[in-house]
Symmetry: C2
Subunit: 488 residues, 2 copies
């Protein structure tokens, strides 16, 4: 791309002024339309060191109301960020619907630096490219406008700029070693940039190369392309997306109706096993903490199936400093206005920690599907998006344990009635629970489709037969222990 790139001809000063005024006026109009039509806009500015990435972002945001944009400079990874998956800090920064997020360099810069300086293997590089393509595709599929700019300058121009900065006392500090290294290895960097741009140049989120020789000319090019991209995005609201076939290896999983629910455990056995298993889990928790393995435990199941009590038996075994339980209710406004996986990305554990989700991202293909909170295209696409999400976590090194807590319809009725009739349990039962119960059969169809389509080899579903809650608790503990022992 960079090598085939044709430097556009710089307009005359007068012409540039005119076009600049026009583009700025357009962006000012567009920010209101973006707001109104609820489009999230992610602007990624990458490029050579000293090409003026920060500077052009500063120019562009002059035309946007401060309530509508954020700017982030992605520097070197913090210690905290190193303990999260590679995409974490980028996913965390995706904008809300109707707002702009500008990134002063991002995932491209991180990968190229790792490839050039930290000896990233070709294999890891190829994995990262796949991750990025999935990440960007998930954003555009979910209605994000992703505009990617690369600010290009020549080796000579870069040398001149570095020299200029070094020559003044006030600016000397701004030149760092990688700037100088980059200039000294310009051709090598050019190759790395070029192949990255080619590898990630997707029709739905293409790269735009900007001639960054002059500050004002840079601003004009970026503004013109950005406003053009926004026009296209404004036109494309409510677009549907072709569904992709699953490409991940799957694990066998039965239909809900095929699961025998008569399994029980007697009280003495329960107490004995509980004690032993919790002690074992506590030991494993220590070991995974030391080995820095992240663990994600996801709970889904029918209302009154016994998720809460089950989770307590897991957490009862754990050191409180090393785990967190995330109860997932309906999304807050700031969560609803982002990609539906955002609130899970931001709740991921650090390496060595356990995150337990009481209800999960699978809401997309259950309640959101059945209540019409998202479009058909949205939830049909979600199986693949979720498999990709969990693949990302798996590749990061996480252990993913997904539980479906299963009871039958009669058991639920009995537990609902019991809750209703027991004063101290009444808070646990709501009208919504009864309404959901009426949709049991529809839910069963959705749950079956969900477990069939998302039981991947790297993140299979585990069924917890919970008519006897104690049986389910013991099985959960055993499953967690077994999965952790595989990696410890």
């Amino acid at each position: 791309m960079l090598k085939e790139w044709n430097k556009p001809e710089m307009p005359s000063d007068e012409d540039r002024q005119m076009r600049l005024a026009k583009a700025r006026a357009r962006l000012i109009e567009q920010q209101m339309q973006i707001k109104e039509k609820k489009i999230p806009v992610l602007v990624l500015v990458e490029g050579w060191d000293t090409a003026g990435k920060g500077s052009v972002i500063g120019q562009v945001i002059n035309n946007i109301d401060p309530r509508f944009f954020k700017v982030a400079t992605m520097g070197a990874l913090t210690d905290e960020e190193r303990r999260k998956p590679f995409l974490y800090r980028y996913f965390e920064k995706i904008p809300e619907a109707g707002k702009f997020q500008f990134l002063d360099s991002g995932w491209m810069d991180e990968i190229i630096k790792a490839r050039l300086h930290d000896g990233m293997t070709e294999e890891t590089y190829a994995m990262r490219i796949d991750s990025i393509k999935r990440f960007e595709r998930q954003l555009t599929d979910n209605g994000y406008l992703v505009m990617k700019f690369f600010l290009h300058i020549s080796e000579k121009e870069q040398r001149k700029r570095i020299g200029g900065l070094l020559n003044k006392k006030d600016t000397k500090w701004r030149v760092n070693k990688t700037d100088q290294w980059q200039n000294a290895h310009y051709d090598q960097c050019l190759d790395a940039f070029d192949s990255y741009l080619k590898d990630t140049n997707m029709p739905s989120a293409p790269w735009y190369i900007i001639d960054a020789k002059s500050r004002k000319w840079t601003e004009l090019q970026l503004l013109e392309i950005l406003t053009q991209g926004i026009d296209i995005a404004l036109n494309n609201r409510n677009m549907a997306v072709p569904l992709l076939q699953n490409v991940f290896p799957m694990a066998q999983i039965p239909l809900l109706s095929e699961i025998p629910l008569d399994k029980t455990i007697d009280d003495a056995e329960y107490k004995k096993e509980l004690k032993e298993l919790q002690q074992r889990l506590g030991e494993l928790h220590n070991r995974l903490y030391r080995k820095k393995i992240p663990v994600i435990i996801a709970y889904e199941g029918w209302d009154a199936a016994g998720k809460g009590g089950n989770i307590k038996r897991i957490t009862g075994a754990l050191d409180p400093r090393g785990y967190e339980v995330h109860p997932i209710a309906s999304p807050e406004p700031h969560e609803k206005s982002r990609h539906y996986l955002w609130r899970f990305w931001t709740r991921l554990p650090k390496t060595g920690h356990i995150a337990i989700f009481d209800r999960t991202w699978y809401g997309r293909v259950m309640v959101e599907r059945l209540e019409g909170f998202c479009s058909e295209n949205d939830w049909m696409r979600a199986y693949n998006e979720i498999n990709e999400f969990e693949k990302e976590l798996h590749d990061w090194g996480a252990v993913i344990i997904k539980f479906w807590v299963q009871i039958d319809k009669d058991t639920q009725l009995q537990r609902f009635t019991d809750r209703q009739n027991t004063p101290e349990k009444q808070w646990k039962i709501t009208d919504e629970d009864w309404r959901n119960r009426e949709k049991w059969d529809l839910y069963e169809v959705a749950v079956n489709e969900m477990i069939q389509k998302t039981s991947t080899a790297y993140a299979p579903w585990h069924i917890l037969e919970s008519v006897d809650k104690k049986y389910a608790r013991i099985k959960a503990l055993k499953t967690v222990i077994e999965e952790l022992e595989k990696v410890l």
Copy 2:
């Protein structure tokens, strides 16, 4: 893709019947919506030999009114097809808006066979992959639904089928050598298929792998995915597409206003040069005929600029058996209902022949742009689409010569008036010419943008200064000769 593919579980007979009835009914409804919303649907069925490609197409079309679909079986290349660009026979078959075109194997099959049997180099293979990605992207960008299916069977199943066919007198003839070769080299073919599917699996036209073990199950899978794809396409009418930056090398070209128009030639010199140049061109025509080089000469220019007379001086030198002139007027209904480049793809010359276009595909970015015959997104995207089109022709080995015949506004007025006042020339001037003339300034903006954005190194524009028509004719002849001499 094939290697990661998960064989879906075959439903029970009863379940299959029910789903089949539903999918068929849906397709019957959809054909009317496809017709109404004017969506062209291209269904490509690829797969292993004996997997049942023709058979499943036969099943699917049972649900479609014969007026709304066509089926083509793409066999080995004919001699005629070998003399056209690689994509020619596929582009020629793209459906009209509102209709289905089924292809029983296509460009995938052709490329894989060439790679496995005809020693296609890795370099050519990579070029073909790029061509295909551009081809499919151009179709989906222009509103086509492109559904790609790969019918998958195991080595054992294929062996069984071939054996079954060979065992009966009636069916023995249906087994050919490549079928048997494919089975004997199943793993090698699997590798080739797998990498092809990966290379061309674009989000806007993804691959769907079908378990083709049973005939009825194959039909159900294909119908369900097809109807799902159609639903998405129906939702996506009037979608705009992100604009891609040009990646082809460009040639310098001046603005129209910078071209001096005072160039002339005296009569004696004209006659002498005309004779010599035409003789030279005649010789070159013979040589390119023998060397089988295809030539495409494109004429664009102002009304009354002298295109017709100019073309005559070229054709006057040529052997009538080796060239064709294509006068391009507004498209016929069957042309208008296809990709705008279709009527040019289908008029391409054979190798060794010359095609002269009197007006061209550049209508997209001139009259269609200015008269609103296409959307803004359509014509803005067209610069790149046209560069890609000409790149395809160039890679095929064609010489592409593009003329812009330039006059000034006063000269046009004089010629219009002259035509109006001369009885035998009156047919040459219409009200439309006068209306176009009123839009001269808008056209000039469009033409400047056009020549700047499409003057590629492999297909640059040549300006013919035609205030003195004779000067323009001599320059055209010289240019054609010069370009042909480069390759002869």
